[in-house]
Amino acid sequence: MLFYIVKRLLVLPLVLFLLSALVFSLVLFLSPYERLAVFIPNADSVGSNIPFDELVERYGLNRPFHQQYALWLSQVLRGNLGWSPSARMPVAAAIAKYFPATVELMLLGAVIIFAGGIALGTYAATHHNRLPDQVARVATSFGVALPEFVFGLLLLVVFYGWLKLFPPGRLSTWAEDVVYLSDFHRYTGMHLIDSLLNGRFDVFADALRHLVLPSIAYSIGMLSTMLRMMRSSLLETLQMDYVTTARAKGVTERVVTIKHARRNALLPVVTLAGSIVAKMLGGAVIVETVFNYRGMGKFIVSAAQGLDFPAILGASLLIGLIIILTNLVIDLLYTVLDPTVRLE
């Protein structure tokens, strides 16, 4: 087991290397001048005075792919991810600032998706072909087809425009002043946790108020997928012989469902978790744009729109790392859930 983990972790740098090379090769679709211009504010108005050719030469922007990549990689290995013109700060600092915001959103979303999906899926499966099951079948079809941005905007219209309950953004102005200007200690960068550690329950409530709509908006599709997966997987296990045996022994239906069937039905759900993490990272891009919530997603969009490649490369490395580690954790979880699975 330990050997397996070490082996997987040893492959990790290789995958990250290939991934960064892939993203880096996208960068070279742009001309050296386009890439240079990103770093020069108001390049259009002061354009003629800038020694473009000299700068391209100095930063090696016209060298072959492998040389440019090696240059970037040598800096990254020294811990320097470069400067992000779109965020106007070093890439590492921008990631440290925006990543916790997205983690916060993802954690809330994950609670909704997993708790909701498993509970509702169990309910639908145990009421197979009865009303709750039929409702679930129709509702999840809508849930899967509903685009995050359409649902997000709908939530904004109703709960912000009309009812004025949940505002967009990440914090209200007064709470921002508390977090960034007072002696508020930022332990994790996640406002929900930091505010509790600082004993500021008003900030906690404000942060939560801003998180409600985005976390719902981007969970709904994955909640539907999760519900379906749980439902069909549980339906399948409920037909197994050992379930019949348990029933024959006189075990109550509730215990049969929860202890005998559901535990075995969870395996495919765990498999799904990997793609859910990837989808949540992608979904953050849309949802953070809709709700003007400043996290990694919005950072990536503005970086992409500004052709800010140091930022895109840095963010790609982080995202690749998260996904690879998630997949490792999932493989380990298998062995816990199903003792017959052996990792080699």
Partner: protein, 292 residues
């Protein structure tokens, strides 16, 4: 025919089929429903009725109203259905072909080719699809054709996986050994015996993907990465409506027509393909048939 009959017995599947047919008919008859203006060079540019920056409610000229900038909502939705259908069909057609071939041939031939294909697939899998497509289409520049290219480049990976696992099991069947024993060539066995018997799960994925690829293309246009401004694209029309979401003071739903119609269009289009795909899966998968 049998498949069709079984499809017809399922109300959700029927609803999906009707929605898909509905949007296909709209797309095909777009020039009749919403004829482009005489001086309009490109029919895919949304017709503008005036240049008022404030959305105008439904009237005789624009039956579903106009967005800010005077874009005719009905025109945008009708021609947007062509855009959606085109994106869906091209992307899914190309990704299905690439993924099926890579995954299928890899699994059938085995050895290092299979390992190589799977490692490449894993690499593409280790990155969120949406973010990859955003980065690639930004690099390629503005325009829907660039979005399509980006969707194809990153979209084939799931087909490769599904096809591989199918072929791995199909190639062990007796009829494949039988064909081998009478001396059939490898190409013939792959095309005539393996491919037809392992393609169904791929078809299901394709049907589901037409909806989701259109959705992703719309998301890109929504965040301003996809189609050019003014191009008939549902995602972009919703982007147009963002400034009018909150309505006016005391009248939060004043500009409802700017976001309701495009939203309904996207939702029903994607819903149609999702329902159809789900039903196809149930109908084609014998295991599911037994459970009913």
């Amino acid at each position: 025919m049998d498949t069709l009959r079984r499809l017809a017995k399922r109300p959700l599947g029927m609803a999906g089929l009707i929605l898909v047919l509905f949007w296909t008919v709209i797309a095909l008859t777009a020039p009749l429903i919403a004829p482009p203006g005489e001086r309009q060079r490109d029919p895919y540019t949304i017709r503008r009725i005036g240049f008022s920056s404030i959305p105008q409610p439904p009237s005789d000229k624009a039956r579903l109203g106009t967005t800010g900038g005077g874009y005719d909502i009905l025109y945008g939705i009708v021609w947007g259905s062509r855009t959606a259908l085109r994106v869906g069909l091209i992307v899914v057609g190309a990704t299905t072909l690439i993924g099926t071939m890579l995954g299928g041939v890899g699994a059938y031939v085995g050895g290092w080719i299979d390992s190589l294909v799977m490692r490449i697939t894993d690499l593409f899998m280790s990155f969120p699809f949406l973010i990859a497509v955003i980065v690639m289409s930004i690099v390629l520049g503005k325009g829907l054709d660039k979005v399509i290219v980006a969707l194809v480049v990153f979209g084939w990976r799931r087909y490769a996986r599904v096809m591989r696992s199918e072929v791995l099991s199909v190639k062990e069947r007796d009829y494949v050994s039988a064909a081998e024993s009478i001396g059939a060539g490898r190409l013939r066995i792959f095309m005539c015996h393996i491919l037809p018997n392992s393609i169904y799960p791929v078809f299901v994925l394709s049907a589901l993907d037409i909806g989701s690829m259109v959705l992703i293309a719309a998301s890109l246009s929504f965040i301003g990465v996809g189609a050019e401004p003014g191009y008939a694209d549902w995602g972009q029309m919703i982007n147009f409506s963002r400034n009018w979401l909150l309505g006016a003071v005391g009248d939060p739903f004043r500009y409802w027509y700017t976001y309701v119609w495009p939203s309904v269009a996207i939702l029903t289009f994607v819903l149609g393909w999702t329902l159809l795909g789900d039903t196809l899966r149930d109908v084609l998968d014998p295991r599911m048939r037994r459970m009913k």
